[in-house]
Amino acid sequence: MAVTQSKKASVLADLDAVRSMIRRHKFNDLVFAGIGLIALMIGLLTLLTLFVDLVMDGYPRFNLQFFSDFPSRRAGSAGLLSAWVGSILVMAVTFLSAVPVGVAAGLYLEEYAPKNWFSDLIEINVSNLAGVPSIIYGLLALGLFVYGLDLGQSILTAGLTLGLLILPTVIVSTREAIRGIPVAIREAAYAVGATKWQVVSDHVVKYSQGGILTGVIIGMSRAIGETAPIITIGALTFIAFLPPAPVTDVAPFLNFEWLNSAFTVLPIQMFNWLSRPDHAFHINAAATGAIIILVTLLMNGTAIYLRYKIRKNIKW
């Protein structure tokens, strides 16, 4: 090999050629960056168009009454009261069923599971469930909860169905949050003689809370807009009353009857209004759609903010 003087000089001599080549390459960069930005924008623009479209159609309904009124045959006085209360109650069941199970499963997979066919089996199942279409969960719920366990078309059924739906999301986000904790922290705890559960409960769960919460919020924001599985369990119903209150003024102050109550939720109410002949109802539907998007936007926003804060606060 000869790195001769002449060759080196040639780089300098060709500097103009090199520079024009670099300019060409950088132009390609610019072109691609433009295309990339457009590719990103397609999704965002669609979302924006959709949202603006819904807001424009639905703006006459953006008032407090829309939230405090029950559904009605008169579009103008029909409101979302039973729907948003139903959504909150269903989400509560979803949260209470998916989070403990999902977090425990995530802990098991990351901290306990031996690396063998057994954990592979669980892992494959989790990643498959994450990709199972929501309508299949609807069929599962129809066959298992509605008919098999005879839970009927209740808040409990819907909450459990959506709980199953977001379970993989919770498991995956739990695992990711746990993976973010450095091995060094775990080893430090083990090295002073902590048992596995002490390590997990004193450290792993504590330091991954934020990450888990982020995942749960994102999962719930998806669940809140789910329509297909709820339709499948057959919950298209006119509900102009609220379920029994979960909290009562007589001991034991808790009342679980609401779990068995009939219900409606936001996307179902939207769907119901959309299928009305009277166009005035379509305004209600648009307003509801805009509200659902806004709610998911807020939830995702919270998740983004949380994630940002966690990153900022904890530097391992």
């Binding site: 119903t237 102009a240 299928s275 002949p277 009277d278």
Partner: protein
Amino acid sequence: EKIIKVDGSSTVYPITEAMAEEFQKATKTNVTVGESGTGAGFKKFCRGETDISNASRPILQKEMDACKEAGIQYIELPVAFDALTVVVNHKNDFVKSLSVAELNAIWKSGSSVKNWKQVNPAYPDKALALYGPGTASGTFDYFTEAINGKAKSSRTDYTPSEDDNVLVQGVAGNAGGLAYFGYAYYEENKDKLRAVPISAKAGSPAVMPSPEAVKDGTYQPLARPLFIYVNATAAAFKPEVKAFVNFYLENAPKLVAEVKYVPLPADDYDAVKAHFKALKPGTGFGGKNEIGIKVKDLINRIK
């Protein structure tokens, strides 16, 4: 807490929903109204899961058997009329009317009509696009019975939807489109669709669907009565159910019209009220749909 459970036909749904809304306001009794379709409604009704079943066609033999087996008795109450409406795209100006025979040619099972020209040589050479309700609906059952002579007997290569607005969109978006559904959906979409006058027999005058034509019995054979079936035991022993049905019949003339259906003539409602008061169980149909029957005759049949 007392809850009155209603399920069944999505066609009858708007009427019952209006009743439920007003009844709840008046009495603070909760009413749920489902819209899972006439057939599904009867299924639940005959399992005793609901107190009242909405129906856009009479109860069928199968369903009667199921109810009987479960020991469920029912009171059959006609509550309103509906006019099944055949619509085409509003740009379609060549179809002046359709006869039952022509509709049958279009919709019969195995029909190969794919072009307006095949319906009538005078029509332009334009592809025919068909939209109709899904098979679970009473509308489908009634229409196929009235036009094809046998319930559920229909050609299958059309776009079915349980959501009538989807059908509206279908015809509105297709110049060669044709669909049938309840009158209310036409009423609300007059700007996008055109209703077609129907002649019962070749040569007889074609009649536009309208409340008047339904009431005076000239819109045939697509005018149909709508029913609610009340669980007889509930009607007798649950005061809230009884109250609700009475409320229903009392307010029918006003509220039925308000939700764009055709109320029965006033004396018919009186007959129905009397019928309910007597708590007479049974059906006037004998397990088969019948086209063009009068309400009075119907009630008189139930003894």
